[in-house]
Amino acid sequence: MRILHFADLHLDSAFVWSGAYGDAGGRRRQALRGVLLGIAKLAREQNVDALFCGGDFYEHDRVTPDTAAFLQRTFADLAPIPVFIAPGNHDYYSPVSVYATCEWSDNVHIFRENRLRAAPLADGLTLWGAAHCAPASTGDFLSGFRAEGSGTHIALFHGAERSWFSEQGGGKEPHAAFDADSIRPAGLSHAFLGHYHRPKDAETHTYPGNPDPLQFGEDQTNGLLRGAVIATINSDGSVQRERHSVAVTQVHDLTLDVTSLASQQDVRDKLTGVVKGFTGVARLTVSGDLEPSLDLPEAVLRDLLRDFDAVRIDTGGLRQGYDLDAIRQEQTVKGEFVRDVEAAHLSTEEERRILITGLRALDGRDDLDVI
């Protein structure tokens, strides 16, 4: 039995994190649809026996009727490959959810209860699935559960494995939290999961990871690709997995060191080399010593990055380029100003901005919007 498992596609999510707005956000959402089409294509190419979705397929608060129609068509086109969906906390099942209101083709099976229910996959192989029926407060699906019947049992649901929660970073809530150790005692050979965006291939469970980037800084974890997992389920319940990248969106973390750059032309030349060949979404981290004479407003950088769909600029690593040691010793207003600012114990970023702004003003400059 070969299945394709994916989760956490988050169709119709907002790309605020990327700084996208206007048409750019729309293009990124369209790209997410492209990811699903890629998954469907992969399922056909790999001739899988079933397609699993481990929840957070879309975002309930944002999903559009058009997206619902798109899903319906995509899965209908996938027939006769059966599609099993276990709704998560972002796409929880409710009477007004897409899952309940869309007319799905016969090959689509949606788990609609917040307890594990059986669905036959093949002779001797049973799939147990459950749904989040609310955006929060969903409990452990495995608590008190015991798979019934003969043969091999596997599970599909959206939940947070407790031992790995601490490594997920901020912003993750422990929805439907469970212990990996409770999978086998529940009579399950393997659990195909969703929720954690970082991929994981454990002995008893699999997190495929988000198939398309949803944040800057997402990278491979333990050398695992994020995206789709082709799993072969053996009759004894063991699983062999292959990972495939299906991402459409390119997310880049770029760095620009402005040290020794004395003019906007210098910046342009250097940045052109940095971004060459990249598209999609970018986060530019500007670092180094900013030459006092260099006028570098954020608008200039954005103009140089205009070919990206969305850009975020981080100047946290930028340092001002004034020789403060010398200025600090001046018995002038300028020296006094520097001493006062430094003595005010401001945040590094704020101190940098105020120092540059004040020194530029004293230098008679008008480029006072400091990057």
Binding site: D61, P65, D66, V96, T332, F337
Partner: protein, 950 residues
């Protein structure tokens, strides 16, 4: 710090040249193009070097362009300086590759480069607390600076501020603050300025936030509508399920009927193993004849002959009764004719008595009679009035007047005497008191007189009128008044009686005279009235008799005329004559003897009428009975003929008609049973054919099987519960059609709602789009807010720094100026003040009047400016004295002022240990130097025309 020498290895036009300098005042003289500017720049470059960083700033580019040797190759300068602590340091700068060295010339070449780094390269001015950006503006005084002060007095203050702010290198703090403020106002603005970015970004953020709320609200509406559609879908599905269940029930019913039909067909088919039955026998004429004969025979009633009086007998009885009644009518009419004739005669008689109509009486006479009787009754009721006795009213009134007069006289006399007594008593008391007081020896006499007076006063009090006396007087007077009132009333009553009697007598005479006679006296009047009343009584009696006859006449007439009475009597007589003539004589005689009254005759007529009706009914019934009897007899005969004929038709014979009828009936019964049996078979065959229709038996069986399969299918689709529920309703096809109509309507509603929802969804804004737009506007607003905060805080820091620096600089400037001011102004100005806010400098002489230093005479202003620059340089360079470099600084001064400035500079140099380096092309300055500068502390260096100095 001071320069020992400058080495221009390759610098501008200078190649391998060295300029030695003294620690005091140095005058570097040279004509134009002698290389003064190059040495000036070499001095700066030798001390400060140039910055070592990627890319060149405009300053560096300008410097390079002006001072790099034209051959473009080597460019190098060095300087040897001595610091205040005695260290001698050589600074070497390769300006091409920007390599610098800073070594102590005395301590085995100790490298000080790291100690004085600035912008990537060693900078000797750092020992002064300056840097290569501020050194020139602090240490160097150019000719243009002094000219600027002279041409624009405000420049002095501006220079001071700039020096205080940036050591003269850049802007003043005030200008920086103004720039920050302008930038903040224009690029950020306030939240109250609608055209400025901060407000606009806030507005835009609000707009996008509203757009997001709108998008979310629309989405909520969409979900709500979606839910309503689900409800419609459920309703439609319910209808569909119900219809399916109903359809299943109906199919099941059809299947049941088909099964029963099939079974019936099979049952009927078993009755006809040989196929179509024989035709049933036809009814023939004999059966009809027998049946008709038996029907007629059976319908006969019993033949009964009528009894009682015959029709003729009854007719005779009616005619006798009518003749007797006619005789009685004639007798009564005869008697009534006699009566009518008598009344006619009496009427004529009485009518003759009243030719003028009915008897009448006089109303006036009646009224007069009533008046006469009233006058007589009043007169008879009169009695003579009693005579008045006792005192008259006048006498009693006189008695009352006399009583009042007596009382008044008594009261007047008593009051006068008491008043006199009171006065005399008062006088006595007064006199007694006066005597006792005037003459103490006559106290007893006085007391006696007072006692007499007191007695008089007491007597006056005792003599006043008493209440009981007044009560007696009042009672006596009221008694007299009561007597007077009673007498007056008695006299009034007597007068009324007299007036009434006179009126009665006057009325008696008046009525008597109306009776038509003169009345001489009271008795005559009474007699006249009595006689008139008797005559009146006689006339009334006659009137009553005539009235009785009149009433009789009116009774006879009864509202008719006498001629009518007569005519009526004649008609009655004629009628009586007619009746008598037609009556039977014997019966008439008997009727006359009976003397029957009209009322009796009426009752007889009524009774005879009823009797006649009864007899006529009796006669009619008898006549009908006779007719029916005859008809029944005819029917019996005909029925017997029919039985006989029918019997002959079927060859049945009997002597008795009843037996014949029985024989016929038996024959008919046998015949009918045979026909019925054949008919039943035919009907069963017809039923079979009808049930089959155009089907064969096999077709019917197949249909049953098909319907049963359909039932099973429906049962599977519908479910047992729904089927049970639907079965309980026993639905019909009409019910099913009605339900399907509801289902169709629900589906239509659902489709319509789907269409509306699709249209709604088409215009529904995207929530993530709105979220991203809001995030973007928030980012812009946050950026502006941060910028605003940064600018605001920068302004705060800068204002604070400016205030403190100015406050520190101001006393230093004042102290320096004060130290030199009397000397450089020849004692004209002795005091100085510096505004700590604006660094404005004012001077005052002995008169203590303050003057703006920039507005003083050119010479004074120049001197003061130099002093201020010196003071600022000393302040800005702290412990290390800063060399003062003047570039043609005195070129604009006249000879006298020039000398004064040079003297001052020399004095400063000597007293403050400040190295002064003055570049000049002026001969008089060279002359001054030759005269005033002595080696080794001071130096005059004269440059050649050619810029090569060794």
């Amino acid at each position: 710090m001071y320069f020992n020498k400058i080495g221009a290895l390759a610098f501008g036009p200078l190649q391998g040249a060295t300029l030695e300098l003294a620690p005091g005042m140095n005058v570097i003289y040279g004509p134009n193009e002698a290389g003064k500017s190059s040495w000036h720049a070499a001095l700066y470059a030798g001390l400060c070097g140039i910055r070592r960083a990627q890319g060149n700033s405009k300053d560096v580019r300008d410097f390079t362009e002006r001072h790099k040797p034209w051959d473009g190759g080597h460019w190098e300068v060095n300087a040897v300086i001595t610091l205040a602590d005695g260290r001698s340091v050589e600074l070497g700068h390769n300006l091409v590759n920007r390599y610098s060295s800073v070594r102590d010339t005395n301590l085995a070449g100790r490298d000080y480069a790291n100690e004085i780094m600035f912008e990537g390269a060693p900078d000797g001015s750092r020992w002064l607390g300056l840097n290569r950006r501020t050194f020139l503006s602090t240490a160097c005084v150019r000719q243009a600076d002094i000219l600027g002060i002279l041409e624009s007095p405000a420049m002095l203050q501006n220079d001071m501020q700039r020096a205080a702010a940036t050591a003269g290198a850049d802007s003043t703090a005030a200008a920086a603050l103004q720039r920050l403020d302008n930038y903040r106002r224009e690029v950020v603005g306030t939240s109250r300025a609608p055209t400025k970015p901060l407000r606009q970004s806030a507005d835009e953020e609000r707009r996008t936030r509203s757009a997001l709320e709108y998008a979310r609200a629309k989405r909520a509406q969409y979900l709500e509508r979606r839910e309503q559609i689900d409800q419609l879908e459920r309703e439609a599905q319910d209808f569909q399920n119900e219809a399916a269940a109903m359809q299943a029930v109906i199919v099941e019913t059809d299947a049941q009927k088909a099964q029963e039909r099939f079974w019936r067909i099979k049952e009927l088919d078993s009755r006809f193993p040989e196929g179509t039955p024989h035709p049933s026998p036809e009814r023939d004429q004999r059966a009809s004849q027998v049946e008709a004969a038996l029907r007629v025979w059976g319908s006969l009633s019993e033949l009964v002959e009528p009894s009682g009086p015959s029709v003729e007998e009854i007719t005779r009885l009616i005619e006798n009764s009518e003749r007797q009644l006619a005789a009685k009518h004639a007798a009564v009419a005869e008697r009534e004719a006699d009566e009518a004739k008598r009344r006619s005669l009496r009427t004529t008689e009485l009518s003759s008595l009243f030719p003028d109509g009915p008897p009448r009486t006089s109303t006036a006479e009646e009224q007069l009679a009533e008046q006469a009787r009233a006058a007589l009754r009043s007169f008879e009721a009169l009695s003579p009035p009693p005579e008045l006795a006792g005192e008259s009213a006048e006498a009693i009134e006189a008695e009352l007047a006399e009583f009042d007069a007596r009382v008044r006289a008594t009261r007047s006399t008593g009051a006068g005497r008491r008043l006199l007594l009171l006065i005399l008593s008062g006088i006595a008391v007064t006199v007694g008191v006066a005597v006792a007081l005037t003459w103490p020896d006559l106290l007893i006499v006085g007391a006696g007189i007072i006692a007499i007076g007191a007695i008089g006063i007491v007597s006056h009090h005792a003599a006043r009128p008493r209440a009981q006396d007044q009560l007696v007087l009042d009672t006596s007077r009221r008694t007299i008044e009561q007597r007077l009132n009673a007498r007056i009333e008695q006299e009034h009553r007597y007068q009324d009686d007299l007036r009434q009697r006179d009126a009665v007598l006057a009325r008696l005479f008046e009525v008597a005279e109306e009776c038509g006679q003169s009345v001489p006296d009271q008795q005559s009047a009474i007699r006249i009235l009595n006689d008139w009343l008797q005559a009146r009584s006689a006339r009334l009696r006659e009137y009553e008799r005539l009235s009785s006859l009149w009433d009789e006449l009116q009774g006879l007439l009864g509202g008719r005329l006498p001629s009518d009475i007569e005519t009526a009597a004649r008609h009655v007589e004629e009628e009586a004559t007619r009746l008598i003539a037609s009556a039977d004589e014997n019966l008439l005689a008997a009727a006359r003897a009976e003397n029957v009254a009209r009322e009796q005759l009426s009752r007889l007529e009524e009774r005879a009428g009823k009797q006649r009706i009864e007899r006529e009914l009796q006669r009619a019934e008898r006549s009908s009975a006779d007719k029916r009897f005859q008809e029944d007899s005819d029917k019996v005969d005909a029925a017997r003929d029919g039985l006989r004929a029918a019997g002959e038709a079927i060859d049945a014979h009997a002597d008795d008609y009843d037996d014949l009828a029985t024989a016929l009936s038996d024959w008919l019964q046998r015949r009918t049973q045979s026909i019925a049996e054949a008919q039943e078979l035919t009907e069963l065959w017809d039923e079979r054919q009808q049930l089959l229709g155009k089907q064969s038996l096999e077709d019917a069986e197949n249909e049953v099987e098909r319907l049963q399969q359909e039932v099973q299918l429906h049962r599977l689709q519908v479910g047992v519960d729904a089927l049970t529920k639907a079965s309980a309703q026993q639905p019909t096809l009409d019910d099913l059609n009605a339900l399907k109509e509801k289902q169709s309507q629900a589906k239509s509603n659902q489709d319509e709602a789907h269409g509306e929802l699709a249209e709604f969804a088409r215009t529904m804004p995207s929530v993530p789009d709105a979220e991203e737009a809001l995030a973007n506007t928030e980012r812009i607003r946050e950026h502006l807010a941060n910028l605003d905060s940064t600018l605001e805080r920068t302004i705060g820091f800068l204002e604070s720094a400016q205030e403190r620096v100015h406050r520190d600089v101001a006393p230093i400037l004042r102290r320096t100026v004060l130290e030199w001011l009397p000397h450089v102004t020849g004692g004209r100005y002795i005091d100085c003040r510096v505004n700590p806010e604006s660094l404005a400098v004012d001077l005052a002489g002995g008169d203590k009047r303050w003057h703006n230093a920039a507005l003083l005479s050119r010479g004074t202003a120049e001197q003061v400016y130099l002093l201020l620059r010196l003071a600022l340089a000393q302040h800005l360079t702290r412990e290390e004295p800063c060399p003062l470099i003047l570039d043609d600084a005195v070129a604009a001064c006249d000879a006298r002022r020039k000398q004064a400035v040079l003297d001052t500079l020399l004095a400063i140099s000597e007293s403050e240990s400040v190295q002064v380096i003055l570049f000049t092309h002026e001969e008089d300055v060279r002359g001054w130097a030759r005269n005033r500068l002595a080696h080794p502390d001071h130096l005059l260096k004269e440059l050649d025309q050619a810029p090569t100095v060794t």
